[in-house]
């Protein structure tokens, strides 16, 4: 699990998570939201959050794969 930009400032660079059961990227986000007030504030529904799995932008309906690198970050603003 990795965080970038404003999410990294709020939650740190990331952590390794062992998931109890198979879930989607959106389900993982919900678990994180439930884990602490800081996570709820940063990742809460209504916040614009993008997710990538194994370094590819992904939809929240996609299942988290084993040993996946999942990253949450705000909308991108490069260029």
């Amino acid at each position: 699990m990795r965080y970038f930009a404003s999410l990294r400032e709020a939650l740190g660079p990331g952590q390794t998570l062992d998931l109890a059961e198979v879930t989607t990227l959106g389900g993982l986000r919900d678990q994180l939201i439930a884990s602490s007030a800081a996570h709820a504030a940063a990742l809460g529904r209504g916040r614009a959050v993008r997710v990538a799995m194994n370094q590819t932008l992904s939809d929240e309906s996609v299942l988290v794969r084993d040993d996946a690198e999942v990253a949450f970050f705000p909308p991108v603003t490069g260029g």
Binding site: R2, A5, G46, A52, Q55, V76, T77, G78
Partner: protein, 160 residues
């Protein structure tokens, strides 16, 4: 020698040197279109002192490589070079360069614009503006999503 297509770096870059290396090995190049973006002194109503850029090492390079592949499929172009700087940048410093070589100008202009529209909404970079009132992360712009839509690609980056 095969030149790298994508560089993410803190150092500045030299546009003329990049254009020269893009075309020197290929006498079929009749045109190079290049875009360079700079740190501006204003954003909306705020004065900007400097800009900070963060990226996602690995994913950023991969996503731009994929954009360049898409540009080669879509346009008749011969070579592409993208450089994007990260870290702390002062006013008027160069941020990004996209240069496209092709036989004729039309495809080079179009592919350069396509790549910038793509990069603005799909490549994982984040800008933080430093102002006299403090630092703030830049909000994504719906206009950038609209720009990518012209190419028939849904962006959905700025939407909540």
């Amino acid at each position: 020698m095969q030149l790298p297509r994508v560089s993410i770096q803190t150092e500045d870059f030299d546009l003329s040197a990049e254009v020269a290396s893009l075309r020197q090995a290929d006498a079929g190049v009749g045109a190079v279109a290049a875009f360079v973006g700079f740190v501006r002194d204003r954003s909306g109503h705020a004065d900007i002192d400097r800009m900070e850029l963060e990226h996602y090492p690995g994913m950023t390079e991969r996503s731009i490589e994929a954009m360049i592949d898409a540009a080669h499929e879509r346009f008749d172009i011969r070579a592409v070079r993208v450089i994007h700087r990260v870290g702390l940048l002062e006013l008027q410093e160069q941020i990004v360069m996209v240069a496209v070589a092709s036989a004729h100008r039309g495809q080079a202009f179009a592919a350069c614009e396509f790549l910038m529209d793509y990069l603005k909404t799909q490549a994982p970079f984040w800008k933080k503006e430093h102002t006299p009132q403090g630092a703030r992360w830049v909000d994504a712009r719906v206009a950038d999503d609209e720009a990518l839509k012209r190419w028939g690609i849904a962006a959905g980056n700025a939407a909540s």
